[in-house]
Symmetry: C2
């Protein structure tokens, strides 16, 4: 039996942290003296402690660590861990995007804001709609677009686009509509005809990977307030040149359109 201090030295987990893990039922001491409250650990707990240590280094929440440790089947365990590695990958992607965006923002020679005010007429398109959590938008978009392309096929008359509820930008759930323009929108599965309402749009074009799009949003925001306008309704994006057209992200062009109206 090892005292908590000895176990701490052997596992490189602090005494405090070990107590916390006991409290969280993550790593219970083999024996707890009922009269003194002293915790005693067994040698066989060292590997477990090390696994916990590694998982925590990967920022796996304590609850998930518990679930992984409780999983009796090594297959299940591996799957849970793979999930977290995937999460790390995603995080890495977001980090890279933030770095790119930051570099652009801090460029000493910011390009002038290039926004066009455009009156967009109403039109009917083939669409898929849904209410989606902001984290799931990308995956949902991919599925919806695949379904759209299958339904519309070669009858496409223009680049795809989408309309995104503002709630999505505030880390909430929101309504999403993705569409493909076509003369006779079919009704298949989730695909149905939908009317894209007429709107006054402040439009700017973002060139490059979609991850850097925030810069364009910033420009729109600046332009909108500088021109004494305000925003009404969901943001629209049109993927003028996208992954459907070329695999070179640097050539992608996304039109961002904010429905606006003059304030004064």
């Amino acid at each position: 039996m090892l005292t908590i201090g000895e176990f701490s030295r052997l596992t490189h987990l602090s005494v405090r942290t070990l107590r916390r893990y006991h409290e969280a039922a993550l790593l219970d001491p083999a024996v707890v003296d009922e009269t003194t409250g002293y915790r005693y650990y067994g040698v066989e707990q060292i590997p477990t402690a090390q696994v916990i240590h590694r998982l925590r280094e990967l920022d796996v929440p304590l609850g998930d660590v518990q679930r992984i440790l409780r999983a009796p089947d090594p297959g299940v365990r591996a799957a849970l861990i793979a999930d977290h590695l995937q999460r790390l990958e995603d995080e890495l992607d977001r980090t890279r995007a933030a770095v790119v965006s930051l570099r652009r923002l801090l460029r000493p020679d910011p390009a002038p804001i290039d926004v066009e005010l455009r009156a967009e007429p109403a039109r009917t398109v083939a669409a898929v709609e849904g209410v989606v959590g902001h984290r799931d938008v990308e995956a949902w978009f991919a599925g919806a677009m695949a379904e759209l392309e299958a339904a519309v096929g070669a009858a496409v008359t223009g680049p795809p686009g989408g309309a995104y509820d503002n709630a999505l930008f505030e880390q909430e759930r929101g309504h999403v509509l993705v569409y493909l323009p076509t003369s006779a929108p079919p009704r298949t599965g989730r695909v149905h005809p939908a009317i894209l309402p007429a709107a006054e749009l402040a439009v700017t074009t973002h060139v490059g990977e979609h991850d850097g799009v925030e810069v364009a949003y910033g420009e729109l925001g600046t332009w909108v307030v500088e021109n004494a306008m305000s925003v009404a309704g969901p943001v629209r994006e049109v993927y003028v040149v996208g992954p459907r057209d070329t695999s070179d992200p640097a050539a992608w062009r996304t039109e961002i359109g904010w429905p606006v109206f003059r304030v004064t």
Copy 2:
């Protein structure tokens, strides 16, 4: 002038977060109505808000964000940001190491523990010593080893090694000694002769990159308690095969030695 809600929509920072940034003096509203307490922001603050947003996505602490924003010189600013990107890189390295270590720990066929009890005689070596924070050990080691190699040169009689205070493994500062064995230790700069005391060492060998070394520590811990021993004094490492010998990390061999004594 924009209300906090409008500014929130334009920057994709939540109202709550904007208030927090005001409180932290990170992003003060252009105007605060003294009677109502209402915050009003200016358009020109949008780019600043976006920079903050990006930096926070990179997990830059608010205090550091403030320092970056306050830096008037773009050069200084770039340097501060470069520091944080370096930090991200380091973190990534640690993440990778944790993944490797985790994979090893969870391997279904853990290799049997291979620990040797060895009576090490005292010997005199060329050493550099210091008290170092646990984060700085690697950098300190690199500098000390370079100085040692310069001082000892071809008179080396064995692989380099080090002795590490246990405090270092508890995320604190501790004494570190790195050495090169040589018959006539010189005294140059920080390099000086030092006696490596005799000790009973529980020794195991770690093969591969140094990052996976925790597994060896775990084995030692298990062995030590299973053999009714306890630990006394700093941990020793001997870099039997290291970056000096081959650039292939898979071939590196590190001996980990814990000074132990029989308990019963």
